[in-house]
């Protein structure tokens, strides 16, 4: 707890500060560039649903090659790099220590970027490992990503090991845990000798959900445990509840992967266990969300024109998206929604409404604390509203459309009817997605101005967050 009291560091030199600042700056800039690129691809894909002839006549522009580029780059480039940058800053600050090694951080960043560039190029050339989803990069590239994780784990652990506080702040439990567990996921996914046919389906189910739930989720939760107390100037509501959520998340999450393959030839018991633990996931999800919301309670003025808005949406995205995930795991509901566009809406509610908004909240809320440069408040506000409204349109369109799609199938209509009935919803998805993409350009602009875009911080209006710092 005492780690949270202040952001000033003990016994740190200006060089240490400079190194941490540069690492945080460059990680965030890289992530923002990847966000713009990956969501540009997303917009192209959304257009292809509306105009199938759009950019279609060459192999490297075909839908099936661009789609994994969009998903893998949002996952492993944008979100991963953005989260690791924040995790470094939080590890150093909450431990009142210097970042253990800037050099290691640069090696890690280079490896993340090499993996993402190589993954993008190979997928576009039609070199796809074939195991859906999020596992499409061929194994040498995933090995590079694994190396980036190992370097990151080392650096985070060493930073916390040299802490000048007694306790390890909760955020670091989540971020260090997330990186270490993901190393195991990566190894399990890469080793090929035990995954054939149905065996590979089982591994895919495991991988698909663990890559999300034990990488992005703990990283983002860890950031929330640091950012919310900072932005609201009060300690986390219950430290014990946070520890409880940590362990329950760890134990329940790895078991639910097979719910991606309900009604498949996977053994029925494996599917049923996955459903049972999908329900159990409500425990850490509601414990975590309640903890965050109770920390924010009664201070609405802190939300006004503040990065805390991003954090609030992120927490709600976590609560709603994860609870929705539990609902989707029931056989009765999955019968309607599985294989429809509803699941695409769900993955955007979680990866965007939760993870991406948490990263934005973290960047807007924490980056100025080390660069001394706030984002322009108006531009930050436009970014927030476009992204939020765009996401709501996106998720609603695909949730409603996906439900119609599923009911069309159940009613035994000709398949093409389900395609025709989706048309207006795909159009709305493209509109929502377009707003989201435009907001990302603003984010990139804002990051530039929080890092290198200006020489000296001008006299800025003192925001609530600054007063809190």
């Amino acid at each position: 707890m005492q780690a949270m009291v202040t952001s000033s560091s003990s016994g740190l030199t200006a060089a240490d500060e400079g190194a941490l600042r540069t690492v945080f700056n460059v990680y965030t800039l890289c992530a923002a560039l990847w966000l713009v690129f990956a969501t540009f691809i997303g917009i192209v894909l959304a257009f292809k649903f509306v105009y199938p002839e759009f950019w279609a006549h060459a192999g490297w522009l075909t839908f099936g090659r661009l789609r994994p580029i969009h998903t893998n780059d949002t996952f492993y480039a944008w979100a991963s790099i953005g989260l690791v940058g924040l995790a470094y800053y939080i590890a150093a600050r909450s431990s009142r220590a210097r970042l253990y090694s800037a050099k290691l951080a640069w090696v890690g960043l280079a490896l993340f970027n090499i993996a993402a560039i190589a993954g993008t190029v190979t997928l576009d050339l039609g070199i796809n490992d074939g195991t859906l989803e999020y596992r499409e990069w061929v194994w040498p590239i995933r090995l590079v990503f694994l190396a980036a994780l190992v370097v990151t784990a080392w650096n985070l652990i060493a930073t916390v090991a040299h802490r000048n506080t007694k306790d390890i702040y909760l955020s670091n439990w989540y971020t260090i845990g997330g990186v270490l567990w993901t190393c195991i996921i990566a190894i399990v996914a890469i080793i090929p000798w035990y995954q054939y046919g149905l065996g590979q389906v089982a591994v895919s189910g495991f991988f698909m959900h663990n890559a999300v739930g034990l990488w992005f989720t703990p990283m983002a939760l860890g950031i929330l445990y640091y950012a919310i107390p900072k932005l609201f100037s009060r300690p986390i509501y219950s430290y014990a509840l946070g520890v409880f959520a940590f362990w329950t998340n760890l134990i329940f999450y790895p078991i639910i992967g097979s719910h991606h393959f309900l009604f498949s030839p996977l053994p029925w018991w494996l599917q049923t266990i996955a459903i049972v633990f999908s329900v159990a996931m409500l425990v850490p999800v509601w414990a975590g969300s309640a903890n965050y919301l109770l920390t924010m309670r009664g201070r609405p003025q802190r939300l006004y024109r503040s990065p805390a808005m991003f954090v609030l949406v992120g927490v709600l995205g976590y609560l709603i998206g994860s609870s929705q995930g539990t609902a989707e795991a029931f056989r009765s509901l999955q019968e309607v929604w599985h294989l429809t566009n509803f699941t695409v809406g769900h993955s955007h509610l979680t990866m965007y409404g939760f993870i991406t908004f948490v990263i934005w909240g973290g960047v807007y809320g924490l980056l100025p604390r080390i660069t001394g440069k706030q984002a322009n408040n108006l531009l930050m506000g436009i970014h927030f509203w476009w992204a939020t409204i765009g996401m709501i349109i996106y998720v609603l369109a695909l949730s409603i459309g996906g439900t119609i799609q599923g009911l069309d199938w159940i009613h035994g209509l000709p398949f093409i009817d389900s395609v025709v009935n989706m048309a207006p919803y795909w159009l709305w998805r493209a509109i929502g997605g377009g707003m989201m993409f435009l907001s990302h350009l603003l984010f990139l602009w804002n990051v530039w101005f929080m890092t290198y875009g200006r020489k000296q911080p001008k006299a800025l209006a003192v925001t609530a967050t600054e007063a809190a710092a």
Binding site: G59, G130, Q195, F261, I410
Partner: protein, 325 residues
Amino acid sequence: MKALILIAGGSTLVYAILAVLMGVLPGIELSKTPPGPGVESLTPLAAKGRAVYVANGCSYCHTQQVRPLPEDRVFGRPTAAGDLVYQTPELLGSERNGPDLSNIGNRQPSKVWQYMHLYDPRSVQPLSIMPDFSFLFRVVAEAPPGVTPVALPPAYAPKHGVVIPTQKAVALVAYLLSLKQPPIPGYVPPAVPMPSAVPSTPAAGGAPAAAPAFDATEGAQLFSQNCAVCHQANGEGITGAFPPLKGNAAVLNDDPTQQLHVILEGLSNTNVGGTVYPGAMPPFKTVLSDSQIANIVDHERTSWGNNAKLVTPAEVATERAKLKH
């Protein structure tokens, strides 16, 4: 230091155990699944086609898993564990923006259709949103000997020359046509309600008291599901690829024998109105019930200006019974 080891090491140990239990062990165990009856490995050409399928991300929109649910029955029988033995990487898929392909080799065995559809999906299904795979084809002035150019309606054909498939397209079509679910001995699909309780001594020979009615809605819907991808919603077919049903002699004939025979048994290399159609039509005897076939036939006999004598389920049953001898 102790706390760090406990948190980082302890949680990682817990996770490693869970990863082995939920990922690695099921993987090892299920990889040993034996092949189901009749499940065979791919031919080299089909295997090459599978690689094209993977490289171009077909499985982002097409599943290869038929669930044991009523709405999936149109795609085939439920996928069984033994079906996936030679399927690495697995292509079960997660989204159905297009139909399931587990049994496409049986459902749509026409090479002619597959090539047209790949070159430009809208040439056979105007409402399709599938991307075209024209980059797997070449336009040449003249097809080399032994190569059949892709049959295309004028609106979709290039202005000059003809379209021929590249090796990749040939392989991909070979793969698609290899996707045939082998029947599981002893498994009777609950699939289509088969009202086989039709009297075995049909009254077809006698004079019907009134003009037999049919379920026009079901007829139109079943036609759209099973027939329209080739014969088209307007019944005009595609010249040189799929025969028209509008004005078709077999459809207008008061004696339905030929029409019923084609639907039940399928057909290939036929001559309709002086045009030779090289494609293959799949048999529907195991897919559709007598009353369903009667509704489709009657839909065809009363649509697009056709006006021919209606058939009854009993007549279909009679024709079906003849096949068995």
